[in-house]
Amino acid sequence: MPIRTDFSATVEHISILDEHGVLDEQLAKDTLTDEQVLELFQYMCKCRALDETAFKLQRSGRMGTYPQNKGQEAAAIGSAFAAKRGVDWLVPCYRENAALWMHGLPMHYVLLHWMGDERGNQIPQGVNITPLCIPIGTQMLHATGISWAMKLRGIPGVAITYFGDGATSEGDFHEAMNFASVQQTPTIFFCQNNEWAISVPRERQMWSSTVAQKAIAYGMPCVRVDGNDLFAVYKASRDAIERARAGGGPSFIEAVTYRLADHTTADDARRYRDPVEVEAWVGKDPIIRLRKYLVSKGLWDDAKQAELDEAGKAMVSEVVRAAEGIAKPAVSDIFDYTYATIPPELEVQRRTMRTHSLGQSPEQVGLAGR
C-alpha cells in the first residue's frame, strides 16, 4: 500500500470535580466515599497550613530555601491515597510533601531536609519512600529500577514517581520511560504539570501541546487530568496502579495544576509571571473547590473549618518543634556515611579534622612531636 496509516493515538482529559465544586456524579462513581473525601479534605488543609508555615520559617531565617507545594495538594494527595503504604514506593522530587506524609513519612522530616540536615532523608524502615531529589529528572529511573526489582522478586507493589513539567525535558526522563515500557515495569509516571519550571513557561519548555502525549513515544498508556480535582487525580492514579499491579505495565499521568507560590523562597515569580494568570488559578484552588463541594453536600461548615484550623495550627507547631528540637548533627556524620565501612584514609581525616589541618596522621608525617 503506497500510503497507509501505521499508527494512531489520542490523549484524553478527565475532569470530575470542576472549579465551582460541581461533581460529575457518573464519573465519580466508584471513586471516593464521602468519608474519604472529608478525611482527605482535612488533610489537604493541614498540609497547606504546614506549607505556609514552612515559608515563614524560611523568611525568618529558621530554614533554608524551601519550595512551596501550595495549590498542588489535590495532585499529591489524590495520587498517594491510591497507593498502598508499606508496599508501593513513592519516588518524589520535592513538590509533593502531602503525598509523602500520606504515605507515612513523618512530617518533620521534610522540614529537616530543608533545614540542611541529611537526617530529613533518613527515611524510617518500612516507609517506602526515597529522599527528596534535587537534580531534576533523575529520580524516575530509580522508580523504574525499584519497580523492576519488585517485578523480579514477585512483590505485588508499584512505584509512583513524581516530577514536574520541566523535568520531562531531561534525557533521564526519556530513558526512564523507555526502560519502564520495554521491561513493562509497574511504574506510574506522575507529572505535576504546574505550567512553570522556575521562570520558564510550559510553552517554552516543550513544543507539544500536552505533556501526556510524550508517553505515546513509548507506547505507554497516558491520560491528562485536572490536577486540582481530587476525584480525577484519584481515579486516574487508581486505574494506573491497578493496571500496573495486575502486570499491565507502566502508565503516564499528566496532572494539570499550577504553582500558586514562588518556585522556591529564593525566587520572585513576579519577575516573570502575569498576575492575571496567577489570579485565574487562585480561583481553581483544589482546596476551595473541594470545600464548596462538601459544603454543598452538607458535609462541611464554618464551625468545622474553624475547628480544623485550630487542629492544623497545633499539628504544625508540633511538627516545627520536632524539626527544630533535634540536636545539631554530629560532625562525624560527615564521614560515617560515605561507605558502609570507613576506609583508613577517611578515618584519619575524621580523626584529624579539627586538630590537624593536614588531614594526615601526625605520626606518619613525622609531625607528631612538633
Binding site: G64, T65, H113, W114, M115, G116, D117, E118, I134, P135, I136, G137, G166, A167, S169, E170, G171, D172, A197, I198, S199, V200, R204, Q205, M206, A266, D267, R271, Y272, K328, P329, V331, D333, I334, F335, T338, E345, L346, Q349, R350, M353, H356, S357, L358, G359, V365, G366, L367, R370
Partner: protein, 351 residues
C-alpha cells in the same frame, strides 16, 4: 539576526561610575556577579555572534541574576531561556559554535554539569583534535561553583579537577570583580571551549570594587600573586582566596607568605608557582573539592617534581574531605577555613 549597531546606552546605569584620578579612565563599581553581567553585555555589544543560553537566563536574568537585563537589551534570540536539559544546552551550544556563533551556555549550578559531562568531555573537548582543526568549538560555559551559601544538595560542589583532567578544555575561576571581567572577556575571545567557574560564595562580597569599565582582558593561564612573601607559598583559587587572606591576617606579623591565586586551573601557570616555591621552599595548597584527586594533587606533584631540591617541607593540601559535601548545617565544618589554613602554614613552617 538583527545587529545592534545603534549607539549603546551604558549597561546597568544603577552601578556607580567615576573617572580615574590619573588617566581619565572610566571606572565602575561592581561586585563579582555585576562584573560578569557587565562583561557579557559589552561582549554582546561588540560581537553579534555572542549569545547566552540556559535555564532561566532570560526574563528572570538567571537564578543569580548574572544575565539580568541582557534579554531586555539583546532580545530573545540572543538571550535564550532553554528547556531544562543540561546535555541539550551543552550539545546545542556545541552545534551553535560549530555553526559560527559564540555561545555562552550557563549551567545553573555546578552539580548540574553532570548531565552535560558527556557532551563537554566527549565532544566539546575533542572536536578540534578529532577533526585535526577542521571543526572547533569556541564557547564559554558559565557555571556558579562552590559551597558556603547554605544551598541545597548538589549546589555546593567544586568539580574543577574533573575538567582539568580533560585535555581540550580550559578551566578558569576568578575570585575578584577585576579578574572576572578580564578573564571572561579573554575566555569569550578564546578559540577553544572554556569552563568559566564563578565562585558563588563571593558573587556579592559586601564591598564592591572599582574596575575599568572599558573592555580589557587578562590572559588565561596566568596566575596572580596576591601578596608577595618569602617564607611559604600559599596557592589557591576561587572563594578560598578569601579564606587564605583571612589566614594571612591571623598569622603572626613576621610570617611572610606569598599568596598565589591561580585564576586559571587549566592551562596551569606552572612557572609562577614553581618560581615561588623555589624561593620559599614551602607550600600549602587550599581548595574546597575533596582532597583525593583534587587539583591540589596535581599542583603538589608538579611542585615536588620541579622544586624537589628546594623543598624544606612536604607540600600540604588543605582541602575538602573525601566525603560528599554535607548539607548546610555542616558545610562550614567541611569547607577549609582560615583556621585550618593557619594551622597548615604553621606546621609547614615548623617542619
Amino acid at each position: 539576526m538583527s545587529s545592534t549597531t545603534t549607539a549603546k546606552e551604558p549597561f546597568n546605569p544603577k552601578l556607580r561610575r567615576r573617572v580615574d584620578d590619573q588617566g581619565g579612565q572610566q571606572l565602575v563599581e561592581c561586585n563579582l556577579v555585576e562584573a560578569i553581567t557587565l562583561t557579557l553585555a559589552q561582549e554582546m555589544d561588540l560581537d553579534d555572534r555572542v549569545m547566552c543560553l540556559g535555564e532561566d537566563v532570560g526574563l528572570n536574568g538567571g537564578v543569580f541574576r548574572a544575565t539580568d537585563g541582557l534579554q531586555a537589551r539583546f532580545g530573545e534570540q540572543r538571550v535564550v531561556d532553554t528547556p531544562l536539559s543540561e546535555s541539550g544546552i551543552m550539545g546545542s551550544a556545541i552545534g551553535l559554535a560549530m555553526g559560527g556563533m559564540r555561545p555562552i551556555p550557563e549551567i545553573q549550578f555546578e552539580g548540574f554539569l553532570g548531565p552535560a559531562y558527556d557532551q563537554l568531555c566527549n565532544h566539546a573537548a575533542r572536536y578540534r583534535t578529532r577533526s585535526r582543526g577542521a571543526i572547533t568549538v569556541p564557547m564559554v560555559v558559565r557555571v556558579p561553583v562552590g559551597g558556603g551559601i547554605h544551598a541545597p544538595e548538589l549546589h555546593s560542589d567544586s568539580p574543577e579537577a574533573i575538567y582539568a583532567h580533560q585535555p581540550g578544555l580550559k578551566v578558569v575561576m576568578p575570585s575578584t570583580p577585576l579578574d572576572a571581567k578580564g578573564l571572561l572577556a579573554a575566555a569569550i575571545a578564546d578559540p577553544d571551549p572554556v569552563i568559566f567557574f564563578e565562585p558563588k560564595r563571593v558573587y556579592r562580597l559586601p564591598t564592591r570594587e572599582w574596575i575599568p569599565e572599558d573592555r580589557y582582558t587578562i590572559p588565561l593561564g596566568k596566575a596572580r600573586i596576591v601578596s608577595e612573601g618569602t617564607d611559604l607559598t600559599l596557592v589557591t583559587w576561587g572563594a578560598s582566596v578569601y579564606q587564605a587572606l583571612a589566614a594571612l591576617d591571623a598569622l603572626p606579623e613576621d610570617v611572610s607568605v606569598e599568596l598565589i591565586d591561580l585564576r586559571t586551573i587549566a592551562p596551569l601557570d606552572r612557572d609562577t608557582v614553581i618560581e615561588s616555591v623555589n624561593k620559599t621552599g614551602r607550600c600549602v595548597i587550599v581548595h574546597e573539592a575533596p582532597k583525593t584527586c583534587g587539583f591540589g594533587a596535581e599542583l603538589s606533584s608538579i611542585i615536588q617534581e620541579n622544586c624537589f631540591l628546594h623543598l624544606h617541607a612536604p607540600v600540604q593540601r588543605v582541602a575538602g574531605f573525601d566525603t560528599i559535601m554535607p548539607y548546610y548545617k555542616l558545610e562550614l565544618e567541611y569547607l577549609p577555613d582560615s583556621k585550618r589554613i593557619v594551622e597548615a602554614v604553621q606546621q609547614t613552617l615548623a617542619y
